[in-house]
């Protein structure tokens, strides 16, 4: 009885979580115009029934701004996590399949990337790509693939010596065929989990470099922008400018992390039936 329930619960949880995240994304996109609407007649209002999260120094509705910001973050996260995961998959597989020289080069490259402090790397790439939206996307996408690539490489190395792969190879199946038919299906759980777990990283890094002023421009409703602006007003007692957007960001990131964990459990044969 109990394991069954756990599995069903997990699936239910996944659906609800995914639903919430999709809802936030959609709501944020719909509220985009409202989020940038300034109105000096209603500036610096504390949270009330009309403005759930209050308003800022230009009279913008913080609830709309927060949702729009989260939505933007999630979409950037989605894009960058997908790109990162794809790079990781290709390089990780190439590493293991193309032979020793390629493996050495790619491993060295992974080590190099991991050796540079992460936030610094994101900033450097972002600035090199001209800041703004493209800068952030490029920065986050091109810096997050390393650990996943390493995991996949390890997995493939192990897989390469597996009897069924060796057999297939002796039977004359081409390398590409082996990768496609035998390796990818095996790597999929690892890959999906890794992909989802990249989200929180991507979102946090997007917000942090925007917060530090190297990311999105300040008229964009991004969480990093909202938080860095709110810093100026903390000393004057406008706590709501930082608190609600900050909390929402934490919630979204945690939802993604939980989602990743649960998916991992579900896809891992060892724990799938718990």
């Amino acid at each position: 009885m109990k394991p069954q329930n756990q599995r069903r619960n997990t699936i239910l949880f996944l659906i609800v979580t995914a639903g919430v995240l999709i809802l936030i994304t959609a709501a944020g996109m719909l509220l985009k115009d409202q989020a940038v609407q300034t109105n000096f007649a209603r500036k610096n209002l504390a949270p009330s029934r009309e403005f759930l999260f209050g308003t800022d120094w230009m009279g913008r509705d913080m609830f709309a701004r927060t949702l729009a910001g989260l939505s933007l973050s999630i979409r950037i996260g989605l894009l960058t996590a997908a790109v990162s995961a794809l790079i990781a998959l290709i390089l990780g597989t190439a590493c293991a399949v193309l032979g020793r020289a390629a493996d050495a080069v790619i491993s060295w490259w992974i080590d190099l990337m991991m050796g540079i402090p992460h936030i610094l790397l994101v900033m450097l790439i972002s600035i090199a790509c001209g800041r703004g939206f493209t800068g952030v996307v490029a920065g986050v996408a091109l810096s997050h693939w390393t650990s996943l690539a390493r995991v996949i490489r390890g997995e493939v190395l192990q897989l390469r010596e597996a009897p069924y792969i060796l057999t297939a190879s002796k039977l004359g199946v081409s390398k590409m065929q082996i990768v496609k038919n035998h390796m990818i299906p095996h790597l999929l759980p690892q890959f999906v989990t890794g992909l989802i777990l990249l989200f929180p990283h991507a979102i946090l890094h997007e917000s942090s470099i925007t917060f530090l002023g190297f990311g999105l421009s300040s008229e964009q409703p991004a969480i990093g922008v909202i938080l860095s602006e709110s810093m100026r007003y903390l000393t004057t007692g406008r706590w709501w400018l930082a608190l609600f957007p900050g909390l929402s960001l934490v919630c979204v990131v945690m939802l993604f992390a939980l989602l990743g964990e649960r998916v991992a459990k579900l896809l891992n044969p060892a724990s799938a039936h718990e």
Partner: protein, 538 residues
């Protein structure tokens, strides 16, 4: 005109620094705060970290005579500006200029000594000017050919072109000693003959100035001036903690109260305004886009100028701490009051209608397929400029002009402003600013910061610079703005629309008497301490 992009990590650090100061210096806080009964001749001032002179206190690298001009305190200058911004003497005893404007002769006092005991002679003056001409990258000295000392008290300046406002330049260039000057060391170890001596400079933290006991003028009232550099929020906290006697602040904090302090607002010519490119959109030979098809219509520029309610902006964005701006030089001796306009939205709408900009179905005007749209640029990180731009956009929407906002860094802003309106900050104690903004330059035949040209305006300014009499030149500068038929005002070409002058706000400790301030120029920094020697405690 520029302001550095706010550095957030620096802000955080400064915050931490202040917190740790407050936590760690419980015992010594009475020492840093001078408002105690026995110690009433010193003052502690909190200033913006951007005000710290990066290259030190060397006039050749922008101290006093840089992007933001102020009195150099440590050094003496030949002339000074009065509170009404006319010229008075400091080291100079008189000056005269030749008929053709190419030779300035200045006599100086013979009783002035540097703080190392050596006398200050005309040779030091000549050396200083020749040095700043060679080295200064932040200020324009191309009008000076060379300076020459005729004897101990006479110096002559050979000019490359007539420059009637040279006395305003002489008011900001601090005189350095020829015998103790090295471009590498002088900045952090300056020797001058001014009211104060640099006692200590902890880079990134504070500057301590002590009164010069051998000063040739009146002995400074404030014997010690300590300047601490902190971000705005840290300065506010420092005032709350009673750590400083005077702290800069902004409209964001103006609705707060700090016990033991009052909020002082000083008038400024620190203005904000948009450039409105006055030529149609086109691509230059070097491939840059300049001009704007909407603002090239002079009626559009006029409509915008009278269609914005400046007082509303001041109330909304500056919490009332500002004054309407109608020119780049409001209240200066060279200001032409014809620049002033009254807010008249109906007139603005009818101007647009008459010019053929008809309201479309979506409420946005258009003419011959060109939409009445503006992309307003502002410097990322400057919240006041961002809010002013947002308010400006709101108001233009009422006129049927649709605006979008875009934050840009200063690395690209100058190029972008050639085709899109950018919100600028100007305001200086010299009419040269008019020249920089409205006079055409070089081979393009257009003004430097925003494409515009008017040969009549150019001629007036050329005449003003060539004039041998400062008073006469004021009149010519005014004519350059509006001579009755053409100019840069509402009835003229109005290539820039000026919005507000921002009051400079400070928390002032009770009992501190800040001496009367000159109208502050752009830059919320050292201007406040121009006359710190005359401050007192009551």
């Amino acid at each position: 005109m520029r302001s550095n992009v706010k550095r957030k990590p620096a802000a955080l650090l400064a915050c931490l620094l202040v917190l740790s100061l407050m936590a760690g210096c419980g015992g010594s806080s009475s020492e840093s705060r001078s408002n105690t009964s026995e110690n009433r001749s010193s003052v502690v001032i909190a200033m913006d970290p951007n005000s710290e002179p990066e290259a030190g206190f060397d006039p050749a690298f922008g101290w006093g005579a840089g992007e933001h001009v102020h009195e150099p305190l440590i050094q003496s200058t030949l002339t000074v500006t009065n509170t009404n911004l006319t010229i008075d003497y400091d080291l100079a005893t008189d000056y005269s200029v030749s008929e053709d404007g190419l030779l300035w002769t200045v006599h100086i006092r013979d009783d002035v000594k540097f703080t190392d005991g050596e006398p200050l002679t005309a040779r030091d003056v000549a050396f200083t000017y020749n040095t700043v001409k060679e080295a200064s990258s932040v200020n324009d000295f191309t009008m000076l050919d060379h300076a020459e000392a005729l004897d101990d008290t006479t110096v002559v300046f050979h000019m490359t072109r007539p420059f009637s406002i040279w006395p305003y330049t002489m008011a900001v260039v601090g005189i350095v000693p020829e015998h103790a000057y090295g471009s590498a060391s002088y900045g952090s170890n300056p020797i001058g003959s001014g009211r104060y001596i640099l006692k200590q400079w902890d880079k990134g933290q504070q500057v301590i100035l002590d009164a010069n006991p051998d000063y040739y003028g009146e002995q400074p009232n404030m014997q010690r001036v300590t300047i601490v550099f902190m971000e705005e929020d840290a300065a506010f906290l420092a005032a709350q903690a009673g750590e400083v006697d005077l702290a800069y602040t902004s409209a964001t904090y103006s609705d707060q109260t700090v016990e033991g302090y009052s909020l002082a607002a000083y008038e400024s010519v620190d203005n904000r305004g948009f450039n409105l490119p006055a030529v149609p959109e086109q691509t230059t030979e070097s491939g840059e886009t300049i001009g704007n098809d909407f603002t090239t219509d002079v009626q559009v520029r006029r409509a915008i100028n009278i269609g914005v309610d400046r007082q509303e902006m001041i109330d909304h964005v500056l919490n009332g701490y500002g004054s309407p701006a109608y020119s780049v030089c409001d209240q200066m001796p060279w200001y032409n009051s014809a620049s002033e306009v009254t807010y008249d939205p109906e007139k603005a709408k009818s101007l647009l209608d008459e010019a053929g900009w008809k309201t479309g179905e979506d409420g946005i005007r258009e003419k011959d397929g060109v939409k009445a749209e503006l992309n307003l640029l502002y410097a990322t990180g400057d919240s006041v400029r961002q809010a002013l731009a947002a308010d400006f956009a709101e108001q233009l929407k009422e006129l049927g002009i649709s605006c979008t906002l875009e934050g840009v860094g200063w690395d690209t802003a100058y190029d972008r402003a050639q085709s899109d309106p950018l919100i600028w900050g100007w305001g200086a104690h010299t009419p040269m600013e008019l020249y920089n903004i409205y006079h055409t330059i070089g081979d393009t035949g257009l003004a430097q910061y925003s494409p515009y040209s008017n040969s009549t305006v150019d001629v007036y300014m050329d005449q003003a610079l060539a004039s041998s009499d400062l008073e006469v030149s004021y009149d010519l500068w005014q004519k350059a703005q509006w001579d009755g038929t053409t100019g840069v005002t509402q009835d003229g070409d109005i290539p820039w629309v000026w919005l507000v002058n921002i009051d400079h706000l400070y928390w002032v400790a009770d009992g501190l008497q800040v001496a009367e301030q000159k109208i502050h120029p752009h830059g919320h920094g050292w201007s406040i301490v121009n006359n710190v020697d005359q401050w007192s405690w009551s």
